[in-house]
């Protein structure tokens, strides 16, 4: 069966009146590394926990390799949650033993291989004595010991120093290169994402704003700069525009380059920033 590693159809999760996620439809290609971005509270963690089966959707369905996820972890999926939960009083070796005990499919060799990468983590150290970087490495080793085909990472880089951040991304990229794992990772660190991701999934207020191949997305958007007094006329959609006394800058999706305006394609950071700014402006306008 040639089913997509992750496919969501009309996926929604409501907490009472709060629509954490609404009508999300997308598909992740096999072996892609997708950056999941959006402002705080956009529904990133909710989406990841729905794919992992930690929570049940209010509406819609998410399936992994064609199998619908229903309140239970799909055997092919590994999720690293934001808090990187580990049993504090266990040693690293005991954590890995716990991984073997809790999983039908478990590769201790793979887990210890990941622990040995980079500076290496002492397997006899207690988890609570580990640095944030080493802790993340243990959590990733634990996630990869399941031999996942889909790896979900929720803010894997937060509270890591630049070196640990770089090393964490190297572990993930090694995994992708060696095993062709499909990765969905949420992060606020756009520059880091740009280095590793080939796809983008941009959420805002629980809805998918942009999804697809990063190069195609960037090619489909333009940053146009023109004089402040001229009205921007375009056949595309203006995502966001900002004005200074002398000039107007706008992020435009689709359409052709407006004549008389200075037009370039944005980089990933500029694109995401444009959408985030637009999101904040919409919220401010509603208040």
């Amino acid at each position: 069966m040639n089913a997509s590693p992750v496919r969501a159809e009309g996926l929604a999760k409501h907490f009472g009146r709060l629509r954490a996620l609404d009508d999300c439809t997308f598909e992740l290609p096999e072996g892609s590394v997708t950056g999941l971005v959006g402002p705080n509270g956009a529904g990133k963690s909710t989406l990841l926990s729905l794919i992992a089966g930690l929570a049940r959707p209010t509406r819609g369905e998410v399936s992994v390799h064609g199998t619908p996820v229903r309140g239970r972890m799909h055997p092919d999926v590994s999720l690293l949650t934001q808090k990187r939960p580990l049993y504090e009083q266990f040693t690293v070796r005991e954590i890995m033993r716990a991984g073997a005990a809790m999983n039908d499919r478990w590769s201790a060799a793979r887990a210890f291989e990941v622990l040995d990468l980079l500076a290496g983590v002492d397997p006899d150290a207690k988890v609570r004595t580990l640095s944030a970087g080493a802790r993340t490495q243990v959590a990733i080793a634990f996630a990869l010991g399941r031999l996942p085909k889909v790896l979900l990472l929720d803010e894997p880089l937060s509270d890591l120093d630049p070196l640990a951040r770089d090393e964490t991304l190297r572990i993930v990229m090694t995994e992708v290169a060696e095993r062709g794992t499909t990765v969905l990772l949420s992060s606020h660190l756009l520059t880091d994402l740009g280095d590793v991701c080939d796809h983008l999934l941009l959420l805002d207020e629980g809805r998918v704003q942009v999804v697809g191949d990063i190069d195609e997305i960037l090619g489909d958007h333009r940053v146009v700069v023109g004089p402040a007094e001229v009205e921007l006329e375009t056949d595309g959609v203006v995502v966001d525009s900002s004005h200074t006394p002398r000039q107007t800058t706008a992020l435009v999706r689709g359409g052709s380059a407006p004549s008389g305006w200075d037009s370039t394609h944005p980089d990933l950071e500029a694109l995401v920033m444009g959408y985030l700014r637009a999101s904040r402006n919409r919220k401010l306008a509603r208040q």
């Binding site: 590994s78 999720l79 049993y87 009083q89 716990a98 809790m102 999983n103 634990f142």
Partner: protein
């Protein structure tokens, strides 16, 4: 999975084991000292036959020295279930939710139900063992004191009843499952601990006052209305009073019992005749005989076990809805 829970609970188990060793050693030392004291005071026979056979300074000194200590030991058996609920049951799920480690288990192949069931069983077994062993050791001490100890007042004396039979285990199951449920529901260890202690005391207090209504009492009657129907201290007296000539219960007997001499009337010597003349034909007592103590233990235990089942179901519900 069993290994994981065992490893997680290891500090608790070590504490329980140390606590049990210390408690058992203390009780055994006290028991040995008491038995030596019994022999030294020449009271060994008295402990078998009862206090009546050996009134005197020796038995009084013995009671002064040991009676409170033995009651204290019963109190410890009664308190042990609450400790298990507060320190083993309450943190079981609350600590996982507090530290987020439930997500570690929920994102593996193991099902939530199996995770829950394993935690429940693996943590409960040492707690129950602790209570049972402690109860047995304390009971062996009280048994050695025989008629000179708290057991002489019969199986229904409240500290004796609650420290005997299946009761401590039933109380432990109740406290443990409620602690677990409160922890799963509120996700805060401290909240769950306080609620467990509070509810345990409240429910135990209420059921202590009402458990005598669980059994239909037996009525025993004395034909001499001036003598109480029951002379033995073993059975539990639920109600007592007087019957009239037709055998009906006299609602307000106080005015009819006025047989004290008034003015220049002759002193009443035959109270029975006076009572009969006033309409009190017989005295009665509604009792639960000592032989039914086990039945009462089982009845009360089944209430606590029923509550425990509810709390287990509540925990399952609370854990399943957890994200």
């Amino acid at each position: 999975m069993t290994w994981i829970v065992w490893r997680q609970q290891r500090p608790v188990f070590i504490t329980l084991a140390i606590g049990l060793v210390v408690a058992v050693a203390a009780v055994l030392v006290l028991r040995a000292a008491m038995v030596a004291d019994l022999t030294a005071r020449n009271l060994v026979d008295c402990a078998v036959k009862g206090l009546e056979s050996c009134r005197g300074p020796a038995s009084n000194d013995f009671l002064n020295a040991w009676f409170d200590k033995m009651h204290l030991a019963q109190g410890a058996v009664i308190a042990a279930p609450a400790l298990m609920g507060v320190f083993v049951g309450a943190p079981l799920f609350a600590r996982e939710f507090e530290q987020g480690t439930h997500a570690l288990a929920f994102t593996q192949s193991v099902s939530r139900t199996r995770w829950m069931a394993t935690k429940f069983v693996v943590a409960a077994v040492p707690a129950l063992l602790f209570v049972i062993v402690f109860q047995v050791v304390v009971h062996s001490w009280l048994d050695a004191a025989g008629e000179l100890g708290p057991l002489a007042t019969g199986p229904f004396y409240f500290t004796t009843f609650e420290a005997q039979g299946v009761s401590p285990v039933a109380y432990t199951l109740f406290a443990y499952t409620f602690g677990m449920f409160a922890g799963a529901l509120f996700k805060r260890t401290l909240v769950a601990m306080s609620l467990t202690l509070g509810l345990f005391i409240a429910v135990r207090f209420v059921l202590t006052g009402t458990r005598e209504f669980l059994i239909t009492p037996t009525r025993i009657v004395s034909d001499d209305p001036s003598k109480p129907a029951l002379t033995d201290s073993g059975p539990l007296v639920v109600d007592s009073g007087f019957l009239d000539a037709k055998g009906a219960v006299v609602a307000d007997s106080a005015p009819l019992m006025n047989c004290a001499s008034r003015g220049d009337e002759p002193v009443v010597t035959d109270f029975a005749a006076c009572y009969r003349k006033n309409g009190l034909a017989q005295s009665y007592a509604d009792i639960i005989p000592a032989e039914q103590a086990t039945t009462l233990h089982l009845l009360e235990a089944s209430i606590f076990a029923g509550l425990a089942v509810l709390f287990v179901l509540g925990s399952v519900w609370a854990v399943r809805r957890q994200v």
